[in-house]
């Protein structure tokens, strides 16, 4: 079977002074190959922990993770990751960064440079091939990060707030790019974000997580990602259902934040 199955995942961190934090509790999601899922939630709800477990950087304390029929136990090239920022290798040029995965696999040079050239064209950076990454703007750097991840042809792409540090305009352009790449490559993508709009735009499926313990609060299936492919995202946002969902989810997260605040105040 193809797809990613997150099965009853739990994560418990023991604190040094005794006690423990339940970062995740019984999280289950089944993703078919090629699905785009966004994850939303207030800070501290375990979004990043979930992503790190899927990437294989953390071993869960309960439950399991199955990708294409085999259990995930550590990081692997089949699950690529795009980080918020600063995960590019500044000692390599744009070309070397994008070609990193293929180089590690020992892909022949000719084939590799074909892959790199193609991907740089896809993300619109063919003229910046030999530049150092620190000479690029934040948006361009994230495009390099996307291309670097795609160069490895992973089954699943994990995105940890990849657009969080970008300005509003660049962010919108990048959202279109992510949708385009999703449609063209047919990858399974999990995207973490703080922005409700971004979660609605970039999620066929959207899960809202609640904190303490981190768990799935609500799940949606949304039409906006399909609508947004090769279309003007601002038009999508004008859709009446979009506004309705946005208000609903904002209210939900607002309530959770208030509850956290209340709990901290009560404790203090």
């Amino acid at each position: 079977m193809t797809g990613l199955s997150i099965d009853n995942l739990s994560m418990r961190f023991d604190l040094p002074g005794g006690g423990a934090v339940q970062a995740l509790q019984n999280v289950s999601v089944d993703l078919k190959a090629g699905e785009l899922m966004s994850v939303l939630g207030p800070s501290g709800c375990g979004k990043t922990t979930l992503l790190n477990i899927v990437a294989g950087f953390l071993a869960p304390t309960g439950g399991k993770l199955v990708l294409n029929g085999h259990q995930v136990t550590g990081p692997d090239a089949e699950r690529g990751m795009v980080f918020q920022q600063g995960a590019l290798f500044e000692w390599m040029s744009v070309r070397e960064n994008v070609g990193f995965g293929p180089s590690m696999k020992g892909m022949p040079t000719a084939e590799k440079s074909q892959v790199v050239d193609h991907l740089l064209e896809v993300v619109g950076l063919q003229d910046f091939k030999e530049k150092a990454v620190y000479e690029l703007s934040g948006g361009m750097q994230q495009r390099v990060a996307l291309a670097r991840c795609l160069a490895n042809d992973p089954d699943v792409i994990l995105m940890d707030e990849p657009l969080g540090a970008l300005d509003a305009l660049t962010r919108e352009k990048m959202q279109s790019l992510v949708l385009k790449l999703w449609k063209e490559t047919g990858k399974t993508i999990i995207l973490i974000t703080h922005s409700v709009e971004e979660a609605l735009l970039l999620g066929e499926r959207l899960i809202v997580m609640a904190p303490r313990p981190g768990r799935i609060h609500k799940e949606y299936r949304l039409p906006f990602a399909e609508m947004g492919v090769n279309a003007d995202l601002r038009e999508v946002k004008k859709h009446p259902e979009f506004a309705e969902r946005r208000e609903e989810i904002l209210g939900m997260i607002w309530d959770m934040e208030e509850e956290i605040m209340g709990r901290t105040e009560g404790a203090a």
Binding site: A55, G56, F57, G74, P75, D76, A77, R79, G80, M81, F83, Q84, G86, A87, L88, F89, E90, W91, M92, F100, G101, M104, K105, A132, Y134, R148, C149, N152, P154, L158
Partner: protein, 422 residues
Amino acid sequence: MIPFALYVAIFAIAFIVASQIAKRRALQDYTSLKTVTFGDESAVRPNRAAGVVSILTIFLLWGMFTGSALLPGFLHAPGPFEGTARFTYTAQAEDGRRDDAAVTVLVHKREVEVDAPEVTPGDGFAKDDGVKVAQWRNVLIAVDKNDDIRKRDGAQVVAIDGQPISPGASVKVDGGTVSLSDKGTPNFQPANGWQMEPLYLPAPEAVWTRMLKIADEGFRNTSLLGHLGWSLFRVVAGFVCGAIIGIPLGYAMGLSNWFRGWFDPIVEFMRPVPPLALIPLVIIWAGIGEVGKIILLFLAALWIMAIAARSGVSGVKISKVHAAYSLGASKWQIMRYVIIPNSLPEIFTGARVAMGVCWGTVVAAELVAAEKGAGMMIMVASKFQNTDIVIMGIVLIGIIGFGIDMLMRYAERLLVPWKGKG
């Protein structure tokens, strides 16, 4: 005190003049338009004029107070007295009779040989004397030696130039000071002026000619370049050994719990021990030859390089390592393509510090014991009071240390252009 006051005065005057000139031709660049400059470090740029004047001032003061031939005479600080000084002394015999006699003192440069001036004895029981004395020296004048009534006959010097004097007191005369020793013999000290004696501070041109001479003839059977070259060789050899062991050690400490635990106490203990404190032990163990020096410099560089490599490893952003793993890199590939390049800037910083420390340590080690080397050169020269060689050595050591640092910075710009860009 006077040179210091002059220095402050030149500083202030140059500042006022330069800022007046700067005001005249007000520069219109971006920084000049900043209204907040006090507290904005980026608006503070070294003033080139100040740098030039600063260096010129040092040479000016040096020349002024050493009577340098490079400066026109009117700029010199008052020099020591040179020429013939005359004073009279009044001798008193036991029976109260008094007689005056003149003393002629020829004050000559130290390096010239002269004869004492010939004088006619004159009349009376006290006879005139002629003596010589070198600048900055003093001379005890046994004025009674040619007198008819001598000290042992009860004669006493009671006045100089007509001014009464007693043992222990002194009188100013033309060209110097005469004091009476406890036993009643006049002592003449020619006026020193404000200049430094060449024995303590030679003029700049004297240092320069000495350097040319030593560059030409060598010093203690080794050429000047040989001395400096030996010092440099020791530094490079010690540093390379230290880096070869220290960098892998630092990596191991940054990557493995066991290595970190094992070497942390050793490194943290050795780090604050100044390498100079190890010189005696190294000499006891390895002698004063090359091996001992290289071991010392190895120890000086080792801990610095190990700590630099360790912090280079711990400075890797975890997201870079995670990214590399999820791109399919093996542990070895992570080491080769992520950890090593990421730690290079830190290692270069460490190398710059280590080279500086090694250069300082090698000079100190050569001061203690060596047959060749920059430190040995100034040490031996100081024993013979060859101050010019000492100053020359200090200047050359400074220039080479500065050169090493510039070279390391250049290499850093060339080899790790991504420094600080992560």
